[in-house]
């Protein structure tokens, strides 16, 4: 039996502890520096606030891992203004987090469990996004193994969407994961985590599959469902402003070099060797 912890909180539930968060991570793109909190930064903040026992790690606390990841999104680190607003108000936004409480020794079992977790959430009208957080998954081989086990499942599709040669890493395969939702549509799945090939906007503290579990309001000829379909309480002017801000922010954080690795259709960018080992 593979267990998940369902977190139904808000990052603001931990605002006292997170007020002491100091970002030690970051990157520099086109002369601009972005400071980004790391997993260790969140861990330190929670330890200092007495929420984590000395000697323990944040990964052992499902609720704190979920809150840290939600705060990372809410802080705009994924480059999307819409996601930041949604993550800051997750209950109202219908964004659920389920934390995998173990590793991925049994990749096929975890893949089945993720599928079983998502099916009823697709039917539930109040849920917009299901995030599966995997604090114990940090290496590309383990993630690749899991994705290769999701691939043959009826309601999932994992496809190679290209290979890039990335300086200092080598060949990186761009993997697109889609999940079938209602009315014949397939939702794009966004992937986050600390993997070398990932674009800057995907380098979250923990490995995460963020699954848009609803079809668009009207049928789309390409049968795709996007995160951008989520209804927001914005007028057209405000929506346009957020859209342009997201486009600009994303370009600033990624630069031209990383753009393809962080597009919506790309879930993870992983070392090609890891993917080949998992599928070979």
């Amino acid at each position: 039996m593979i267990d998940f912890y369902r977190w139904a909180g808000e990052p603001s539930d931990f605002s006292d502890a997170l007020a002491g968060l100091r970002a030690s991570g970051g990157y520099r793109v086109n002369g601009r520096t972005f400071e980004v909190p790391t997993r260790e930064d969140y861990e330190r903040a929670f330890v200092e606030h007495g929420l984590i026992s000395l000697g323990a790690t944040i990964s052992e606390y499902a609720e704190l891992a979920a809150a840290a990841q939600a705060d990372w999104h809410a802080g705009g680190n994924d480059g999307c203004v819409f996601a930041a607003a949604l993550s800051a108000d997750r209950v109202n936004s219908g964004w659920e987090t389920h934390v995998l409480l173990e590793g991925v020794d049994d990749a096929a079992g975890v893949a089945d469990a993720i599928d079983a977790l998502c099916r009823p959430r697709i039917a539930a009208p109040e849920i917009e996004v299901v995030s599966v957080l995997m604090p114990a998954v940090d290496d590309a081989d383990t993630l690749a193994r899991l994705l290769s086990r999701l691939s043959p499942l009826e309601h999932w599709n994992v496809r190679e969407r290209g290979v890039e040669d990335v300086q200092g890493i080598g060949s990186v395969v761009l993997l697109g994961v889609r999940a079938e939702v209602e009315l014949g549509h397939w939702a794009e799945v966004l992937g986050f985590g600390r993997f070398a090939g990932q674009g800057n906007t995907r380098l979250a503290p923990f490995t995460e599959l963020a699954i848009r579990v609803k079809e668009p309001p009207r049928p789309r000829s390409n049968q795709r469902a996007y995160m951008a379909d989520i209804e927001m309480d914005l007028d057209k002017v405000e929506f346009g402003r957020w859209w342009h801000e997201t486009k600009r922010g994303r370009a600033e954080r990624l630069g031209a070099e990383q753009d393809a690795r962080a597009k919506g259709r790309v879930t993870f960018a992983l070392e090609q060797g890891a993917w080949e080992r998992s599928t070979g």
Binding site: N92, S93, G94, A123, P125, R218, P219, E231, M232, D233
Partner: protein, 136 residues
Amino acid sequence: MGEEHGMSSSTRRRYHRSLYTVANARTPQDLVALLIEEDIELLIDARPAAPDDGRLRSLCADANTYYAVRPQLARLAEHRDAEPDEHHAWAAAMAMRHRTCVLADAAGVAEETAALVGLRLVDLDRSPAPIALTMP
């Protein structure tokens, strides 16, 4: 046609409060024209037999309207002692998210679905006026 959206406790998500129904008494073209007029997003075909489903599917696609076939919804109208099942729950959930119309051969097919989540049932055949304003 009354209210279309109701604010829930959510600050963003809005759920539809009405489920629409229409009898099987029109040509596919006339039916889809009505759906367009009523801004329907999803047509659920609940007829036990639907020989024109291919035509309806095609017309709905052209009208940017979802089309789903669920003959199982007619079961309750035929067996009044039966309980609503997963098909009714599915249709009710869909109707909360999409402006939905149920196409049925018999009266009463959409009632159980609407009742499941407290939707107001609106019969488009009896509807006194379409949404669109027309000049005299």
